[in-house]
């Protein structure tokens, strides 16, 4: 499990470091802002990967198995965000390359129109990038689900821009070299790699040509997903680290199914089966979302906010800030838990969560004769959460 997570991480790291290498072309002047947009994104992507790695490390050090999984689950959204953020960024690099080729080789092409085109493309990508950059598990999930559709739109934009340029070049009878420069960009494009073809305008039935073979899932003759990849994704999904929709979005994008993804977010059954989308995995998804309607349930800090500084002094900072340890809970459950079960003779045993957890931690610290470490605190918190039947599915909460 940890091994496969690490290999996913390595893949992401390689992806994340690739975009800057491609800044070979230089775009200057008014177009600089579009370059800056890219560099800014690289910063948060690297941050997301860094914190995912840090969390994985902490997870491996915490003794409690449920807490380990809870922490690993926290890395999921960061990895998902990094994966899809990198894909978007690579796509953006393609647009910049195309723009660069156009600016350099097509004197007839309008720089103003290009500027407007890029602005529109940026507008398409911006909301998704913002959601991904938030690293909030729920926003990342929504953005991930919308990715195939967005990639479809971007592919069409790219295709249109390329076609228009080609026509302008033809019109002005520019030299072959210029044509080639534009074609070259299209050749090396990420979208070319991710998407085998520009989606045809005629609707294709989703899943046509998708067959399961021992070697993996095939789209026609094109191997999209290797057996190893499926296995890795299956394990991550089962552990609740990443969600089935996220894997689905990746398969849809890489399978060039983007046009259809507007209508269907579902994966072809073959892929679902391969991923192990069995009732148990789906059940786990439901638990992950903590049941239908739970995504609206209020969030609550597990580590009491009024003691934020106490936790900060013990290492709950940055990615491990107490805001990262929130749980969604239905109002009724929350009240019941805060009332310690509201047993009639509650006065003899308040059991109120905040008071109880701080008391346990303070007493443990007194008895240990030293400050508890962050991992020791998580270890104790895991035990108490289990006693209160609070699932270790953490969401990002807001500080008061």
């Amino acid at each position: 499990m940890k091994g496969s997570l690490r290999s996913v991480e390595v893949a992401f790291t390689q992806l994340a470091t690739r975009p800057p290498d491609l800044w070979g072309f230089s775009l200057t002047g008014v177009f600089t802002r579009y370059l800056d947009q890219g560099s800014k994104q690289v910063t948060w992507l690297q941050g997301a990967l860094g914190s995912a790695t840090a969390l994985t490390k902490v997870a491996s050090e915490v003794g409690d198995t449920d807490m380990e999984l809870g922490l690993l689950r926290m890395t999921g959204p960061k990895l998902q965000a990094a994966q899809f953020g990198t894909l978007l960024l690579a796509t953006w690099v393609d647009f910049l390359h195309l723009a660069d080729a156009v600016l350099r080789h097509c004197s007839m092409c309008s720089a103003e129109k290009l500027f407007v085109d890029l602005h529109r493309v940026q507008g398409l990508m911006e909301p998704t990038l913002t959601d991904l950059a938030s690293l909030d598990p729920e926003r990342v999930e929504a953005a991930t689900t919308a990715m195939p559709e967005l990639m479809g739109k971007l592919t069409r934009e790219f295709d249109t821009l390329q076609r228009e340029t080609r026509e302008t070049l033809k019109l002005s009878g520019q030299v072959i070299a210029a044509m080639q420069a534009v074609e070259m960009v299209a050749m090396i494009s990420t979208m070319k790699r991710a998407l085998p073809r520009v989606p045809p305008s005629a609707p294709v039935t989703l899943g046509v040509g998708l067959v399961m073979s021992s070697g993996g899932v095939m789209v026609g003759s094109r191997l999209v997903v290797s057996a190893e990849w499926v296995e890795r994704m299956r394990r991550l999904v089962q552990a609740g680290v990443i969600s089935v929709p996220a894997v689905g979005a990746a398969v849809l994008i890489h399978g060039g199914q983007v046009t259809m993804a507007q209508a269907h977010q579902d994966l072809p059954k073959g892929v679902r089966d391969a991923l192990g989308d069995s009732p148990e995995v789906r059940g786990m998804q439901v638990t992950g979302r903590a049941g239908a309607g739970m995504s609206d349930a209020p969030k609550h800090h597990v580590l009491p906010q009024e003691h934020r500084e106490w936790f900060e002094r013990r290492g709950f900072k940055g990615d491990m800030d107490i805001d990262n340890f929130c749980v969604r809970m239905e109002q009724a459950h929350h009240e019941a838990i805060h009332g310690g079960g509201n047993w009639k003779r509650g006065r003899t045993w308040p059991g109120e969560w905040n008071r109880m957890i701080m008391e346990v931690l303070h007493d443990a610290e007194t008895k240990a004769g030293r400050m508890l470490t962050r991992n020791e605190i998580l270890d104790i918190v895991a035990v108490t959460m289990e006693r209160y039947y609070i699932p270790m599915i953490f969401v990002l909460g807001r500080s008061r």
Partner: protein
């Protein structure tokens, strides 16, 4: 009565229904039949996913208050905490890692003790650290001799 979640519906009624189904007259009798099981284990035994450990504890406190057996319950809770945190008994050497395990057990014990007994529990914890019990000490019930010496019944 089944529930999808321990905090759904009338959990107290559900708790007692499960206790009776298993042939016990009281929650205390059920818990004493499993003296070293953790609260979470007791809850799972009664109804996996239907009852929370803290609910079992809450019920045990209420029963002990009525029967004036609170001190016995408190001793019993330390038995459960020690079984969970120090499964092979009191450590031979109290190095940093072992000291944490002891501290964790004692901290949890305070948290899961009725208000009336907290101060006594804290003193017992200090006494255990000041005069450690023999290595491997592993009380198996509230009747453990050393435990009774440290925290004798007052109600009787």
């Amino acid at each position: 009565m089944t529930a999808g979640h321990p905090w759904d519906g009338h959990w107290k009624a559900r708790l007692y229904e499960r206790v009776r189904e298993r042939g016990y007259e009281s929650l205390t009798a059920f818990a004493e039949a499993h003296p070293t099981a953790s609260l979470v284990k007791l809850a799972a035994e009664l109804g996996e996913g239907e009852i929370a450990g803290v609910q079992v504890f809450s019920g045990l406190v209420a029963e002990a208050e009525r029967s004036k057996q609170l001190t016995r319950l408190v001793r019993g809770q330390l038995v459960r905490e020690l079984a969970e945190c120090l499964p092979s008994g009191w450590p031979r050497v109290l190095d940093d890692a072992n000291r944490f395990k002891v501290a964790k057990a004692l901290g949890l014990w305070t948290g899961f003790t009725p208000e009336t007994h907290k101060e006594r529990v804290r003193r017992v914890g200090d006494a255990l650290l000041a005069n450690p019990p023999p290595a491997g000490w592993r009380p198996l019930s509230p009747d453990d001799e050393l435990l009774q010496t440290l925290l004798p019944d007052e109600e009787a």
